[in-house]
Each structure stands twice: as structure tokens, then as C-alpha cells.
């Protein structure tokens, strides 16, 4: 039975603040949301099916496009699968390069989120300020990898070319430090921003855990779970995962800002390691005719939007038998069902934005 007093509203798939093509089917009582049903699939590109058709080296460049804001993470996952299957050890320098670029990419992704979130809330300026800093990172990526976003820089067993101009990164970190203070002055001190985010969209621990939420969203609810602590690349790095107790939109925003600092620390350590190990020493895997041994392989990493993982089942051919991606945003979208119920349309945008959903990652 449908209640005829309710107003059915399609939020999206073409809507300025659904970050792509998310469609939320809302039932509204006045401006109050009675029920919310996310509808995904408008950006489905068949990333998983495509893997079964292409050889490993052919599939690899498309992997970056799963999440265009954090392409390095997915490259890393896929390379890791191949390296694990063929038991290839990475040299120290290659590891340091990868950590450096991954963390830079995390900063770029979080910067974009901060800007876009403030844009969702209606503030204009922070969007351009964060893009200004992100531009520096993208310029560095372009210098090293040849492209600004679809980098395709990691290859099986190493990286395409050695890294250079590390001074640029050090310079950028200095700039970022002062700019973060600027953001805090503009955003954190603004009472309207606090009013919009504090106490809104409270995500309880058990709800988050049951919903398979990972990443910043989970840590902002007070669960200490950071997959970087277990990851092989990050061995020998010192950092503390940002765990905060607030559970609301504001905490999630703060956690991302703090994570910018944490990533900067990791980058500094990576630069130290790069200076100690100057030889690249990589044992590349011959890509043509590459066949993985029969079996199942799995890799996981802490991406900006939560746990990302890749599962490959190989039957010994040069193509995977089955490949599966696990992405953080997919579960966050599902969570909207619970989080948006009972809120007002106005807050719904603030809550949906705070989860950092990105649609290519959801639909794959």
C-alpha cells in the first residue's frame, strides 16, 4: 500500500549534488524524508566482466578508471595481485615510491571532497581553494606519470620510471600546511557550517559495522580499523589512524582534514626512504603471454573511500576466470537508506555528501 499523502521525489540521476549519477528515490512528507531508496547502475561499465575478456596487461590501464579520484590505489591493488601470484618482491625504493604517490593521491582525493562538500552546503570559495592545492598534486603526477588522473604508472613488479623532483613534493607539503590552517579558519570557525554538520547524520558503530562501512566513515564512528597498519607497503612507517568519537557529519569532515596531516607525515617518511635507497632495482614481469598459476588471489588496501580490494580467480589462463572489486562507496550508498530516514531534505544533502560517495566506484 502506498500512502498517497507522500510526495515521491527523484533526487538524481541528474542533480548537482549527487556527485555523478546517483539516484535517490525519496518519499517526502513535507520536507521530511519518510523513506529513501538508492538506485545505482547509471555508470555501470562492466569493469569486472571486461577483465574476463582482456589479458592482464591489457586490463591494467582500465583499472584506474574505477575511481578516477584515487586511481593509484586500484593500480596498486591489481599490481599486487600479479606480484603475489608470481611471488615477486618489491625493492625498498619501489615501495617508497608507491607509498609516496598513494598518499599524495589520498590528499588530492580528500581535498576534492572538502571542496565539494562545502559546495553541497552552499559555500562557494573553499571549493576553489582546495582545487588550487589539488592542482599542484596533479601537476606533479603529470610530471612523473604522464597524465593528471589516469596515471597507469605502477606496473607489474615495479614502476614505469624512476621518480624525480622530490623537492616539489616537499614544497607542496609546506604549502599544504599553511593552507590547512586557512581552511580551518574559513570552514571550522563558521557557525553556520557547524550548525549544518554537528549532530547531523549520526552513524552508530553497530550500524556502520553491519553495513560494512570502512575507511574514514567508520573511524569517525569510533572504530579503530585502518588497513594501512596491516599492509605490506606500509611496513616500517609510523602513523596513527585518525579515530574520533563524534559519529556525525562534522566528525567525518574533521577526520578527513586530520588525515591530510597524517598523509603528509607518511609522505615525509617515504621521502626519507627514497633518499636512503637510490637504486631502483626492480624485477619487472614480462607482460606478454603472462599467465597466473591456477588459484585464488586477493589484495586489499585502505583507499580514500574505505577498504578497496581485488579478488582474482585464475584457472591458469592469460585472463582471469573471475575478477571482483570491492569498493568502499558501494556500501556507503546502501547506508543512505538508514541514515536519510527521518531527516529533512536540506540535511539529507549534507549527510549524503559527508559519506564521500563517488559513483564510478559504486557502479564499476
Amino acid at each position: 500500500m502506498t500512502n498517497t499523502n507522500l510526495l515521491k521525489l527523484n533526487l538524481g540521476p541528474q542533480h548537482p549534488s549527487t556527485h555523478g549519477v546517483l539516484r535517490l528515490i525519496l518519499e517526502l512528507d513535507g520536507e521530511k524524508i519518510v523513506s529513501c531508496k538508492p538506485d545505482v547502475g547509471y555508470l555501470h561499465r562492466g569493469m569486472e566482466k571486461m577483465a574476463e575478456r582482456l589479458s592482464y596487461v591489457q586490463y591494467y590501464p582500465t583499472v584506474d578508471r574505477i575511481d578516477y579520484l584515487a586511481g593509484f590505489f586500484y593500480s596498486e591493488l591489481f599490481c599486487e595481485i600479479i606480484e603475489k601470484a608470481l611471488n615477486v618482491e618489491l625493492s625498498e625504493r619501489v615501495k617508497a615510491i608507491r607509498v609516496l604517490l598513494l598518499e599524495l593521491n589520498r590528499i588530492a582525493s580528500h581535498l576534492l571532497w572538502i571542496g565539494a562538500y562545502l559546495m553541497d552546503l552552499g559555500a562557494v570559495s573553499p571549493f576553489f581553494y582546495t582545487f588550487r592545492e589539488r592542482e599542484l598534486i596533479l601537476k606533479y603526477f603529470e610530471k612523473i606519470t604522464g597524465q593528471r588522473m589516469m596515471n597507469n604508472y605502477f606496473i607489474f613488479g615495479g614502476v614505469r620510471r624512476d621518480i624525480f623532483d622530490i623537492e616539489d613534493v616537499e614544497e607542496f607539503l609546506e604549502i599544504l600546511k599553511t593552507k590547512i590552517k586557512d581552511y580551518e579558519r574559513i570552514i571550522d570557525s563558521n557557525p553556520i557550517f557547524l550548525q549544518r554538520t554537528k549532530g547531523k547524520g549520526v552513524l552508530e558503530q553497530n550500524v556502520a559495522l553491519n553495513g560494512a562501512i570502512t575507511g574514514v566513515n567508520l573511524r569517525a564512528s569510533g572504530v579503530n580499523l585502518d588497513f594501512r597498519t596491516k599492509h605490506k607497503l606500509y611496513e616500517g612507517y609510523e602513523f596513527t589512524p585518525i579515530v574520533s568519537e563524534g559519529k556525525d557529519c562534522y566528525t567525518r569532515y574533521r577526520a578527513r582534514v586530520l588525515e591530510l596531516n597524517e598523509s603528509s607525515k607518511l609522505i615525509k617518511q617515504a621521502i626519507e626512504k627514497l633518499k636512503q635507497n637510490s637504486a631502483l632495482n626492480q624485477t619487472l614481469i614480462q607482460p606478454i603471454g603472462l599467465k597466473l598459476p591456477a588459484g585464488e588471489f586477493y589484495s586489499e588496501i585502505e583507499a580514500p573511500r574505505g577498504l578497496a580490494s581485488c579478488y582474482v580467480k585464475s584457472d591458469g589462463e592469460n585472463k582471469p576466470y573471475r575478477l571482483k572489486w570491492r569498493t568502499g562507496s558501494y556500501y556507503a550508498v546502501n547506508l543512505l537508506r538508514k541514515l536519510l530516514k527521518g531527516t529533512y531534505l536540506n540535511d539529507a544533502i549534507a549527510i549524503a555528501g559527508s559519506l564521500d560517495i563517488i559513483l564510478p566506484e559504486v557502479d564499476k
Binding site: 591494467y60 582500465t62 604522464g146 589516469m150 597507469n152 574559513i186 606478454i288
Partner: protein
Amino acid sequence: MLKGIKGLIVSMLTVFKHLFKNSVTLEYPEKKIILSNNFRGMPIVEGCIKCGTCIKVCPSGAIKIESDNFNINMEKCIFCGNCAYYCPKNCIKMSDNYELASSDKNDLSLNFDISKKGEE
């Protein structure tokens, strides 16, 4: 309350400060972004030995080699640079030409004459 007002003033003044800074806009068609040597733009082929490696590594099937003609379909190319990276003779290069918009579909089909093999 007072804290809120102070916060408002601080955030307003911080934005106001930017009024006097130089703009970061790049006026595109007149001034162009400075690209690095590694930039992956339109591919260029020279001295191909027809080994076929590039065809095998291309994810989108954009490359075709017919007797003396090396054809790259730029409608399909995703600029991943696989062909350039894995080419054994380094004869595919990614140039820094990124202005490939065209109103004619034929412009997007690049043909390279490869009848002259390398020196060998």
C-alpha cells in the same frame, strides 16, 4: 554566541585576504599549460618493425597494422601509454599534442607509413 560571531568574522576576513592575491587562472587558448617530457598525448610512430607487441598490449584495440600502414584509431585510444612503454624498439612515442578535437571523423584515424623498416 560571541564565539560564533568571532568565527564569522575570522572566516570572512580569511576569504577577504584572497581578494588581493594573484589569480591562478590559466587563460587557456592563449597560454598553455607547461607539459613535462613524459606527457602522454597523441601517439607518433617511427621505424616500426611490425612485431605486433603494441596490438597485444592495447586495452581498447585501437591499433591496426596492415602491410605498410600503421593505423591508430584515436576514437578508441585511452592514452594509457602501454604501446609506447612495451615497444621493444621504442618507436611509438606519446607526443605532447592533446588538442585532438575535430569535426571530421577521419582526422581521428592516424596513419603512419612504416614501409621503411629500421636500419636493420
